[in-house]
């Protein structure tokens, strides 16, 4: 059981998180809920990237007084550095999207995408 969880929880869990976010984006009609779905997808992708660099029993890539040289078994630091970038860009996109949502609400007085006339063709 533990073995199964160890194998599946990171890749399987992060893919599940991406899919839940995608399902939310497809089915919800409220703009705020769509953005919650997008940010779930964002989190799932970040978890997937970090778990690609995981080493079983590995240490965090910091040289400290106990882990004091480079021959220890470290986890991969590059995905962590890239995910740091990705988190910040996620925050930026979320903030900009919420700003646009505020303007849409001021113009149409609704957040329901099926009632916003500008989105129909």
């Amino acid at each position: 059981m533990i073995d199964f969880l160890e194998k599946w929880s990171f890749f399987g869990g992060s893919i599940l998180l991406i899919l839940i976010g995608l399902y939310g984006v497809i089915t919800r009609k409220n703009l705020i809920k769509i953005f919650i779905g997008l940010s779930l997808m964002d989190t799932g992708i970040n978890v997937l990237l970090v778990s690609l660099g995981y080493v079983k029993g590995g240490f965090a890539p910091i040289i400290t007084s106990t882990i004091n040289n480079n021959s220890y078994n470290f986890v991969d630091p590059i995905p962590q550095a890239l995910v740091l970038t990705s988190i910040v860009i996620g925050v930026a996109v979320l903030a900009l999207g919420l700003g646009v949502i505020i303007k849409i609400y001021e113009k149409y007085n609704t957040l329901d995408i099926s009632k916003i006339r500008g989105l129909k063709w």
């Binding site: 890749f11 893919i15 899919l19 080493v55 040289i63 400290t64």
Partner: protein, 253 residues
């Protein structure tokens, strides 16, 4: 369950099978697969060069508080990637955050600035008095996380977020509290300009943009890492101010 939801569920499940089958291969050594989880082959990845601090220099041992003048002097390897090896990426990242903050204030710009749609209620007794104790402590914690970013977990983005949280609490606690936007802009511009000018000095002194032109010192000392702590302080200030600007704009919208 109407037809739309069933269709969406089917699409999502199909996509999930497609993504999962990439991980279900029978792995060879070093390949990424479910069976191989937790066995990432770090020794044959670029990461090992960063851990050994030997991208351009010969491979030697890195020892806590003993190794001197390595190619990158910060004990936190993630920091040495973010602010030294891939500092240009970080410059781009800060630019994205800056563009988002600027774009947000452009979108939400309102000529009738006096009229607030989102009226902040006067904070409760606990919030108002608790923030008086918490505010300096949060600023202190944020600064510590930024300044020790090259030695311990954390760094400029995390510390900047903590400082922005302190200012958010201050904004929530009272109606009258207003941030001086000109001062914020001055801090942001100074931080951004000093980041780029450190990079340009590297171009002048060593021949490429954002090169480390200072001595890297002994690993795990506070004054080590060359330009890494200086860059991290500028990024930290910039992130703190930009996140505060975003919060401020959204609250006044």
């Amino acid at each position: 369950m109407n037809f739309r939801k069933i269709l969406a569920l089917m699409t999502v499940i199909l996509l999930g099978i497609f993504i999962l089958q990439a991980f279900l291969i029978s792995p060879e050594k070093g390949e990424i697969a479910l069976n191989n989880f937790g066995k990432a082959d770090i020794e044959n990845r670029t990461a090992q060069l960063y851990i050994d601090k030997s991208v351009n220099s010969p491979n030697e041992e890195v020892i806590y508080k003993e190794s001197k003048d390595k190619e990158s002097g910060s004990a936190n390897i993630v920091t040495s990637i973010v602010a030294n090896y891939r500092a240009l990426d970080t410059l781009g990242e800060v630019t994205v955050l800056f563009l988002a903050a600027t774009g947000l204030s452009a979108i939400l710009y309102n000529k009738k600035h006096a009229k607030n749609n989102f009226v902040v209620k006067e904070g409760s007794f606990i919030l108002k008095n608790g923030i008086k104790i918490l505010f300096p402590l949060l600023i202190l914690a944020g600064s510590y996380i930024i300044i020790y970013g090259h030695l311990s977990p954390g760094g400029s983005f995390q510390g900047g977020a903590v400082i922005a949280t302190a200012l958010l609490l201050k904004l929530l606690s009272s109606k009258e509290y207003e941030l001086d936007e000109n001062k914020l802009k001055a801090i942001e511009v100074t931080a951004g300009v000093s980041f780029v000018s450190i990079g340009l000095y590297g171009l002048y002194a060593e021949g490429s943009f954002l090169t480390n032109f200072l001595e890297t010192g002994t690993i795990a000392n506070l004054f080590s890492g060359g330009i890494v702590p200086i860059l991290y302080i500028t990024i930290g200030l910039k992130v703190a101010v930009e996140l505060t600007n975003i919060i401020n704009d959204l609250m006044k919208a």
